[in-house]
């Protein structure tokens, strides 16, 4: 049995079709990533899985149960870290943890062991008396994750848990997530960081309410038909301007001192010519997940505009 799944899940808000029929199933010990541009429907899908709202059509299952059914035990096995501010701002770090410990009726000893460990890993221990509202954005996220992990749920839903979290803390949060996944927890994570998407076992790429591609991140990047190159030589700022004018360029972004460009299939020669005029050349590199995202998403928008 899958730890959680969506079956043809759709959800409208009035005339707006936020989620348009998505299906995926995640096994225990699996880490599933949901990525997509703002407004793709990720948060709505997570809200339905968490039992916060009814699907317009289709259904969700948490350990085989409907989280909104009468008498369900799904919620006991479910941990949710919402994207928005969800803790009590006037309570301290320690008081928020205590509150969640009480909600899930943890025994005192269990509670103390888990809190000590979570505060240690997240390095929040020295801020235990600070009000949640006075935490920096990243520290707040860490606290919210601790609160969602406190009852060690079997299914954990994380809606952009690392927004505003610094590179060191992001790695620490991921170590934490991996550890729980290794222990058999099934985790759904949505994230705007494509390096994080690359670390998931499987990823669903969402766009306008649909999953437009899914699979292991390495397989998805291998399937990319676009060329990805670094621009060697020339002046970066000047070249940035040149590349922005090239219709074959999906995206150009800095990679160290160089620029990295994603080029539509068949457009390589034209871009090579354009940069050569400014004393630079192209060197092919292996695509990463961010290149894939840029290619799949901007390719779509153009195709739709043309249609």
């Amino acid at each position: 049995m899958a730890a959680f799944e969506t079956i043809e899940l759709a959800r409208d808000y009035g005339d707006v079709k936020a989620v348009r029929g998505i299906s995926f199933a995640v096994e225990p010990g699996e880490l599933y990533g949901l990525v997509g541009p703002d407004g793709a429907g990720k948060t709505t899908a997570i809200g339905c899985l968490a039992g916060l709202m009814h699907p317009t059509s289709g259904s969700v299952r948490i350990l085989g149960q409907d989280p909104l059914a009468r008498g369900t035990t799904a919620r006991r096995d479910l941990g949710l870290m919402p994207q928005e501010y969800s803790l009590y701002g006037d309570l301290s770090v320690g008081e928020n943890l205590w509150f969640f410990g009480q909600l899930f009726a943890l025994k005192k000893k269990t509670y103390q062991q888990r809190v000590e460990r979570l505060l240690g890993i997240t390095r929040l221990a020295r801020f235990v008396d600070r009000r949640a509202a006075a935490l920096s954005g990243g520290m707040y996220k860490k606290l919210a994750l601790c609160c969602a992990l406190l009852h060690e749920p079997k299914v954990l839903l994380l809606d952009e848990p690392t927004n505003g979290v610094d590179p060191v803390s992001r790695r620490e949060l991921w170590e934490l997530i991996y550890e729980f996944v290794g222990g058999g927890m099934a985790v759904l994570i949505s994230t705007p960081y494509m390096d994080e998407a690359a670390r998931c076992h499987r990823v669903g790429l969402m766009h306008k309410g649909r999953i437009i591609a899914s699979g292991a991140p390495s397989e998805l990047t291998r399937s990319l038909e676009h060329d990805v190159c670094e621009v060697v030589g020339g002046d970066r700022e000047a070249l940035h301007g040149v590349l922005a004018q090239q219709p074959e360029v999906v995206a150009a972004s800095p990679a160290g001192t160089r620029l990295r460009v994603v080029i539509v299939p068949g457009g390589l020669a034209a871009v090579e010519q354009a940069v050569a005029a400014h004393g630079a050349s192209l060197r092919k590199v292996a695509p990463d997940f961010e290149d894939l995202f840029l290619a799949r998403i901007s390719g779509r928008d153009e195709a739709q505009e043309a249609a």
Partner: protein
């Protein structure tokens, strides 16, 4: 008037016993994109709030656009734009009404107000979103609207506190195109971010650790100083299991995960033995599918600075 857009001398801020910012000194030149980086809670936002005249410093001095932040906070506020980390617009208003509100606050009215709004809407590419209710705008557009509100009075300096947090990759690129245009037109940009690829756009970068400014230089100089030596980028499976094993190898300075890849950096001048590395990674439970040399990035710098200071604390 001082020569620099921002001049900071031994600036400090205490909250009770907690020292959020300690003796920080730096300057920012006019028209420069200055990046202010650091871990969560390192004191970035506290510094910004002092420089914007929102918090009184506990010690030291700072001048922004020639005004002292402690004694002339009002003059500072009228010459800067500030985009806070927390989204701070009125969600139930139309995008344009938010702009009108902020224009009004800065004393614009009538024709000048209309002109200022038209110009900033054009500049930030918000024309088609002008009449949308703010709450209905996607995250990336909202951030652009927040930027537009901070630019409405044409400030000489803008402070952007994590302007792209949670914004998708395509929208982040749009946003940075705006920032670069802004700087190109002479506006000084003081920006914080946790996206190290964005930090590459900054002319200079200050790195904060626990309230102290521990590094201040151009991106290239920071890389030379903090992450010398050669590095390999390794592709494979379960590489996260092998970070400690890689760190324990002789001659290895750092081993960090970058997405699904593991980057292993050797000390300057140490010859790289790929066989020894592969063996160590495999015996730690990882599978190696390939490795290639990789250049230092600002993310390497950030991690090196943060890890060094953690080690210093532990050995102290």
């Amino acid at each position: 008037m001082t020569e620099h857009a921002i001049q900071v001398d031994k600036l400090s801020k205490h909250f009770g016993d907690f020292i959020a910012v300690r003796d920080v000194s730096f300057h920012v030149e006019r028209g420069e994109i200055f990046g202010y980086l650091g871990a969560n809670g390192a004191g970035k936002s506290t510094t910004i709030r002092m420089l914007c005249g929102l918090l009184t410093p506990s010690g030291g001095h700072a001048t922004v656009a020639g005004h002292d932040v402690a004694s002339s906070a009002l003059s500072v506020k009228s010459s800067i734009g500030y985009m806070s980390q927390k989204f701070s617009l009125y969600l139930e208003l139309e995008a344009e009404h938010n702009l009108e509100f902020f224009a009004g606050i800065y004393g614009l009215y009538g024709k000048r107000l209309r002109h200022a709004i038209d110009e900033v809407v054009e500049r930030t590419g918000l024309t088609e979103h002008k009449h949308a209710i703010t709450s209905a705008l996607p995250g990336g557009i909202r951030q652009r609207l927040a930027l537009a509100c901070s630019l409405i009075h044409k400030p000489a300096i803008v402070f952007l506190d994590e302007p792209t947090a949670g914004v998708d990759p395509a929208s982040r690129r749009d946003f940075w195109r705006l920032i670069r245009e802004l700087a190109g037109q002479g506006t000084t940009v003081f920006v914080t971010t946790h996206y190290m690829d964005e930090a590459e756009y900054c002319a200079r970068i200050g790195l904060m650790v626990d309230g102290v400014l521990v590094a201040l230089d151009t991106p290239e100089a920071l890389k030379r100083t903090w992450v010398p030596g050669e590095a390999l980028s390794i592709e494979g499976r379960d590489l996260h299991k092998a970070t400690s094993a890689a760190r324990a190898l002789q001659g290895v300075r750092a081993a960090e995960l970058f997405g699904a890849r593991l980057h292993v950096r050797y000390a300057d001048g140490v010859p790289i033995d790929r066989r020894v590395l592969t063996a160590a990674l495999c015996s730690a439970g990882a599978q190696v599918e390939g490795m290639e040399p990789t250049e230092a990035s600002l993310e390497d710098v950030f991690l090196a600075v943060a890890r060094t200071s953690v080690q210093n604390q532990e050995s102290a």
